[in-house]
């Protein structure tokens, strides 16, 4: 099934109108790179938007143009898969602030130079605004569903709260309605690693090769740990040594887990822009859906008639179950139709991307209802 050919269209939309941002600026000339899968039906009622996570992109089920690896949710999106492209028209866009074709800090500012740190600080809601503009251009009024995991879940929540008439359902996986102190803390470690790299140059590194690779790699290493569970790391690596019989009494990557993290960090720098990492993590840290709506999360959903489904994983300590449950309680208080469940999976936060058959059943069931 996973080998079935999948028809995708990769396009970039240039927004005709400037985007008004939460920070107060107007951003002109915004471009939104996106892919679509499947066919939009005649009355345009079968469209689903998938929002990607922090380091994801719009190549949700097509090979990544840089790494050549399968799309990040290829196991979920395709013909006959839980998000069935035979049935639904799938749209996935690179977020505003990203580095895979949508406007971000590496893009050209009106003066012809890269924005770098002149790029405005954006929010999760700004990311969603850009994608709402995309829907407008496609002539799609109401979606069958919005779907997202992690930061994608935040966008799905923001979409359902702020554009309640534009989706009939929202599926939010391993996510949260706001960033906790711990979430912000981990992101700050990553940002400081980037900014401490002498090659960062206050963000103006675009004509100096690849820029702060070491800092970005460390940021990715620290973040990657938060995506896995302790038990998962132990099972995968334990204290096993990397291609050697004994410890070297040095600072090489003696342990397999060190080697793995170094590889994850380095390979990340091939496909991600350090300034994008700063801006997107900032947007996540600023996210607090209740705060946007007067402090009470239930009020964020007061106008929503959509069905909601929230899924958490028991080994996810980055966005733990209590975050999803509190969203479910708020939706209840708002009288919304909401389902919530904690699934058991060993992979920590990354469970939403990996082989969890129970998740497949929930996704397929929720979308077909």
């Amino acid at each position: 099934m996973a080998d079935a050919p999948i028809l995708t269209t990769s396009t970039t939309l240039a927004l005709a109108e400037p985007l008004t941002l939460d920070g107060g600026q107007q951003l002109e000339g915004v471009r939104v790179a996106y892919e679509t899968y499947g066919t939009l039906n005649a009355n345009k009622s079968n469209a689903i938007v998938i929002f990607h996570a922090l380091t994801g992109d719009h190549h949700v089920a097509s090979p990544h143009p840089i790494t050549g690896k399968p799309g990040w949710w290829a196991r979920m999106v395709g013909p006959g898969l839980p998000i069935d492209t035979d049935q639904f028209f799938i749209i996935c866009a690179n977020v505003l602030g990203g580095c895979m074709g949508s406007t971000g800090p590496a893009s050209q500012a009106p003066d012809g130079m890269p924005f770098a740190m002149r790029f405005p600080v954006i929010t999760i809601r700004d990311m969603v605004r850009a994608q709402v503009a995309l829907l407008d251009s496609l002539g799609i009024d109401t979606l069958h569903a919005v779907i997202g995991g992690s930061m994608g879940g935040m966008q799905a929540l923001s979409f359902a709260a702020n554009w309640p008439e534009r989706t009939r359902a929202a599926l939010v996986i391993a996510s949260a309605a706001r960033h906790s102190a711990q979430n912000i803390a981990f992101h700050e470690v990553g940002r400081q690693a980037i900014m401490a790299d002498p090659k960062w140059l206050d963000g103006d590194y675009y004509w100096q090769g690849k820029g702060p690779e070491s800092g970005l790699a460390v940021a990715r290493m620290a973040a990657h740990i938060t995506y896995l569970s302790e038990a998962g790391l132990t099972e995968k690596f334990g204290r096993r040594l990397q291609n050697r019989e004994t410890k070297t009494f040095g600072f090489d990557a003696d342990f397999q887990v060190e080697s793995y993290l170094r590889y994850q960090g380095l390979s990340f720098t091939d496909r991600f822009d350090a300034n994008s990492y700063l801006y997107i993590t900032r947007a996540m840290d600023y996210f607090d859906l209740a705060e946007e709506h007067g402090g009470l999360l239930a009020d964020a959903f007061a106008r929503s008639t959509a069905r909601f489904c929230l899924v958490s994983f028991d080994t996810d300590w980055l966005y733990p179950t209590i975050e999803s449950r509190s969203i479910a309680h708020a939706l209840n208080a708002a009288g919304a139709q909401v389902s919530f469940m904690e699934l058991s999976a060993p992979f920590g936060h990354d469970s939403f991307l990996l082989d969890v058959p129970a998740l497949d059943r929930v996704v397929a069931g929720f979308l077909s209802a």
Binding site: H329, N332, G335, Q337, S339, M341, A364, G365, A369
Partner: protein, 196 residues
């Protein structure tokens, strides 16, 4: 559609069409689906077991994984016409508080439970001297989820103590309705409809 469990069939028949319903301990969602499909109800559920919740979501139902003891507090007052607690009361930590929550959330409540004073249970305990394992209480004492066994008369007592009204009662014996005398002795299952 498969036949509903007898106590659920009684409840399904008694819920007013078009009601907003919360089924606490909704299992695989059979009653919710019946209420939605046959009674045009806005039917929501709460269920402890994630596998059951996933099955409910697959049926298009809105079900929250949660615990009757802990998670009812998050529902607003009178947010449902009707709160249902079928064969779950005896598994809760504090049945009295759960009952209060039902009648805070719902205008009416349906509560069904296996009657621990049924004659078979009494005989089993009297002559066997051991905790009963019967048709309606099929699991041994050490692994049963029933931590607060209750009888028809006990439940009437709790309802009276809390000042609630009994709107209706139904009794089952061997999966059939029984209208005979002495339900505390003769009924295997009891279903109560309550209001404030």
């Amino acid at each position: 559609m498969s036949a509903l469990r007898p106590d659920l069939a009684v409840i399904a028949g008694a819920v007013a069409p078009g009601s907003r319903v919360l089924d606490i301990g909704c299992g695989d969602g059979s009653l919710l689906a019946a209420l939605r499909d046959q009674r045009d109800c806005d039917a929501r559920g709460m269920e402890l077991d994630p596998g059951n919740v996933a099955q409910c979501v697959g049926r298009g139902l809105s079900v929250i994984q949660g615990d009757a003891d802990a998670d009812l507090a998050f529902y607003p007052d009178l947010s449902f016409d009707c709160a249902i607690l079928s064969q779950t009361l005896q598994t809760t930590m504090r049945p009295d508080r759960v009952l209060d929550e039902l009648l805070r959330i719902g205008r009416t409540a349906f509560v069904s439970f296996p009657n621990f004073a049924h004659w078979r249970v009494r005989l089993s305990l009297l002559f066997g001297g051991r905790m009963p394992v019967t048709h309606s209480l099929p699991v041994a004492w050490y692994e049963t989820q029933n931590i607060h066994h209750v009888t028809v008369d006990d439940f009437r007592g709790l309802v009276a103590d809390r000042g609630y009204r009994i709107e209706h009662t139904w009794f089952l014996s061997g999966d059939r309705r029984t209208t005979g005398p002495a339900p505390n002795l003769m009924a295997e299952h009891a279903i109560f409809q309550l209001s404030r």
